[in-house]
């Protein structure tokens, strides 16, 4: 492969956003006929890099080359015209139109007087669909297709242009195994035609199955490229997180206090069923499971955002009804939500105002907000959590993910909760901030807080929890203490295997 020239080459790309250096001199090349994996943790800069390539962001430094020629991607249309095609994770189809119309949108074949040539359109579309071996035809309405088939339409759309490079962004996220096989066939066809393919995925198994080379990004920096046959999962993981995967378990146990929260037989429709557990003061209970296992929904119920259909919630031994977050907050429950930007922060507001938002009614001097008291709270948690910001006046939207998350955590710690629930506390934040937040959670337990940690990352759950509740499909499969838990038993439990036998 060394004798051919790259079809697409990125050289020293730099992209900064206020407060963050999203890409720091990233170089990366794709050969014709190569499947090149781009890997990195959430927030490593993969999507930013692809947006630069697609002309959505303009780089602050570096250059893009196609063949020998330097190109400027001034916008998505230009990128497409140059033969760079994106298959996005999120679909961008017009549901009310047919498959054919979607595929050729903007370039429908014409007859005289601008009339659409429906016959040619259907023929051309069906030819492409045949290649993809899908079970629908050109005249199907896109809204009637399954998500997986809609994705196939996206792929079909990519095949209509003379593609030089195709970028697949998590293409298998919503595909079944059979559909994956078809997709991989399509990819190998493209490969045989000399198209360069960039394949973004978190799934190691796929990466090792279909890619030729792997490039890794970490915190906006290029970590290197390796040939897929010459490496293994562990090495790639190490490149991604900068160290070996830390699967150490929490070994420190504090003296446990009283039961702060007890849940008995809680159910909420089809979301989760018959959930019972307790959390003591001084204890961190981890909730581990796949996305959709019902963990977030339990947290939302405890925070008054959902009505349970059955069961009881007891706080300090007293049964409570939580009808709204207002009730939950009044009862001393704090929730650091899963979606930091969507649920946790008002991005246009400054750091201080975000942090004191839940208690703004209580921080008053006469009719006005006591700004001095607010600044004092902000300063206290900025120091305690080591939040890096130019000052409390900085807009939260300009901070890095890790600092944003610390603002949310500070916001809820300053409420002095008796129960702190954190949902995916380190999603999309850098490695350094991650371990700080883990330390923080352990520290809170040491101070006597009752903490629930919901996480999809096994190292995180192992690292912070005194006990781990494994969930599968809305049910608790098994509860482990940190001394007895093993990776295997945990994975089996969240896959619906080898639990306590509670679930069928």
């Amino acid at each position: 492969m060394t004798d051919t020239k790259p079809i697409l080459r990125l050289d020293g790309i730099v992209k900064t956003f206020p407060g963050v250096r999203a890409l720091d001199g990233v170089s990366f090349a794709v050969m014709p006929g190569e499947v090149h994996a781009l890997m990195g943790e959430n927030g490593a800069g993969k999507s930013t890099l692809m947006k630069v390539l697609g002309g959505i962001h303009q780089p602050d430094g570096g250059a893009i080359y196609m063949g020998d020629e330097q190109v400027v991607m001034s916008g998505p249309l230009e990128a497409k015209a140059k033969g760079i095609v994106f298959i996005h994770q999120e679909l961008s189809l017009a549901e009310e139109l047919t498959v054919a119309e979607n595929i050729y949108l903007g370039e429908l074949p014409r007859k005289s007087f601008g009339r659409v040539d429906w016959k040619t359109l259907a023929e051309k579309t069906n030819a492409i669909l045949k290649k993809l071996r899908v079970g629908f035809d050109a005249l199907t309405r896109v809204g009637d297709l399954s998500i997986a088939n809609q994705q196939m339409v996206e792929i079909a759309r990519a095949l209509t242009v003379d593609a030089k490079a195709v970028i697949f962004d998590e293409p298998t996220a919503s595909l079944t195994d059979a559909e994956k096989v078809v997709l991989f066939d399509v990819i190998s066809d493209l490969k045989a035609d000399g198209v360069g393919i960039i394949y973004i995925s978190h799934r190691m198994e796929e990466i090792f199955k279909i890619t030729d080379r792997i490039s890794v990004l970490r915190d906006g920096q290029y970590q290197g490229t390796v040939a897929t046959p010459e490496t293994d999962e562990e090495r790639v993981t190490q490149m991604m997180i900068g160290r070996k995967l830390d699967l150490t378990r929490n070994a420190l146990h504090h003296e446990l206090g009283d039961v702060a929260l007890e849940v008995r037989g809680l159910s909420c429709g089809k979301l989760y069923t018959d959930i019972s557990f307790e959390v003591r003061r001084g204890e961190v209970v981890g909730f581990y499971g796949l996305v959709g296992a019902g963990r977030t929904e339990i947290a939302e119920t405890l925070f008054g955002l959902r009505d349970p259909s059955a069961g009881q919630i007891l706080l300090d031994g007293e049964e409570v009804r939580l009808n709204s977050p207002v009730d939950a907050i009044a009862r001393g429950i704090s929730l650091v939500p899963e979606d930091r930007k969507g649920q946790g922060l008002v991005l246009g507001m400054n750091c201080r105002d975000n942090m004191t938002l839940p208690q703004v009614d209580d921080l008053t001097a006469g009719p006005f907000v006591a700004e001095g008291a607010e600044v004092a709270i902000f300063d206290q948690y900025r120091d305690q959590l080591d939040i890096r910001t130019p000052g409390w006046r900085a807009r939260v939207g300009n901070l890095s993910g890790g600092n944003q998350q610390k603002i949310v955590i500070g916001k809820w710690l300053s409420m002095h909760p008796s129960l702190l629930i954190v949902d995916e506390p380190t999603r999309g934040i850098d490695v350094g901030s991650k371990s700080e937040i883990h330390k923080l959670l352990r520290g809170l337990a040491a101070k006597g807080y009752a903490v629930m940690v919901i996480s999809s990352e096994m190292p995180e759950v192992l690292h912070v929890s005194d006990r781990i509740v494994a969930m599968y499909s809305g049910r608790i499969m098994r509860t482990f203490t940190s001394d007895e838990v093993t990776e295997d038993s945990l994975i089996q439990a969240i896959s619906g295997l080898g639990g306590d036998g509670k679930a069928a």
Binding site: P76, Q343, G348
Partner: protein, 324 residues
């Protein structure tokens, strides 16, 4: 680097564009007509703007909360007609609180629909624009409303009186602007309005009662409308059913001109006051230039669109964004 600094200049231009445009207007009008920048003229512009200004204060709360209020014009017609009618029936002392109560009921109705039922505010208030107009006509039987004894009532003080040499409408505007400005910038309620408009979901997750906050914004807006209706009724002591027609757009123009984003979450009372004054001066300037008053309808809209464009451009960092 060249493109970077160009972008910066573009964004500064976009952010300050309204003030720059305002300065250009003032200079142009002053050169074209030497009456423009005189004390007399300035003193005539501000009272004329007071009514719109008072309404704009309330609408500022609504817009910051992430909603719209297009019903303020026809609601003001309603207030004006009602207070004039009741003036002769139950006397001004009772007429004023009765009119305020009725107007606040309309505001509460909108607040329930938009806040608690989460209906789209554009649709609700557009509907209310028409519905309240119908209500007003039903109330008045389609007749103009006049006070019988125009000379003998103290009711004229709100629109025509002066205190300390300053016209009362200006004093009302200034007082309300000060109170509502403090309410928005300094109280917990104001903070919640920004939070709800900036990110309603995050506000809910922070224990803020979103529906109640939106509801209160519409109550405030109705209160401001009632006050504007009082000024209007007191100025003219008689009125047509359509006296507030079209004011919703002028008011919205002033709020947007002041820089409040229609996406919610940003804007201030101070900026709205500036927006009201800019609009007032521009409209006055056009009249002084000898243009017919209806030209201002066109100009008002050009200004709204320009303001929205500059607002968006400032966020994007460039004026022109050809995204397909």
């Amino acid at each position: 680097m060249a493109t970077l600094s160009k972008q910066k200049i573009g964004s500064v231009l976009a952010k300050q564009g309204i003030l720059i445009a305002f300065a250009v207007f003032i200079v142009a009008f002053t050169l074209a007509n030497n009456k423009f920048l005189t004390v007399d003229n300035v003193f005539s512009v501000v009272p004329a703007s007071a009514k719109q200004g008072v309404m704009a204060l309330g609408v500022t709360f609504v817009v910051i909360s992430g909603n719209l209020d297009l019903s303020v014009g026809s609601m003001m017609s309603f207030s004006t007609i009602v207070v004039l009618d009741l003036h002769d029936k139950i006397g001004p002392f009772l007429a004023i609180p009765a009119m305020f109560a009725m107007t606040l009921c309309l505001g509460a109705f909108i607040g329930i629909l938009v806040g608690y039922l989460r209906l789209n505010s554009l649709i609700v208030t557009l509907g209310m624009l028409s519905a309240i107009h119908g209500l007003t006509l039903t109330y008045s039987g389609g007749q103009n409303m006049d006070i019988a004894d125009k000379e003998g009532t103290w009711f004229s003080v709100f629109g025509q009186g002066t205190a300390l040499g300053i016209p009362v409408p200006i004093l009302i505007f200034a007082l309300l602007a000060a109170v509502l400005g403090l309410m928005l910038s300094r109280t917990p309620f104001g903070r919640k309005v920004y939070a709800v408009g900036g990110n309603g979901t995050a506000a809910t997750f922070s224990g803020i009662r979103r529906a109640r906050t939106v509801f209160m914004c519409y109550i405030l807006s109705a209160f401001c409308v009632a006050t504007a209706g009082l000024i209007q009724a007191s100025r003219s002591l008689g009125s047509q059913n359509t006296v507030g027609q079209g004011l919703e757009l002028e008011v919205l123009a002033a709020v947007i001109l002041g820089g409040a984003s229609l996406m919610g979450g940003s804007g201030t009372i101070f900026k709205t006051v500036i927006g009201v004054l800019i609009l007032g001066f521009i409209q006055n300037g056009l009249l002084l230039l000898g243009l017919q008053f209806y030209v201002q309808y066109v100009v008002t809209w050009v200004i709204i669109i320009l303001a929205v464009w500059l607002d968006i451009a400032a966020k994007r960092g460039r004026l022109w964004s050809p995204i397909a």
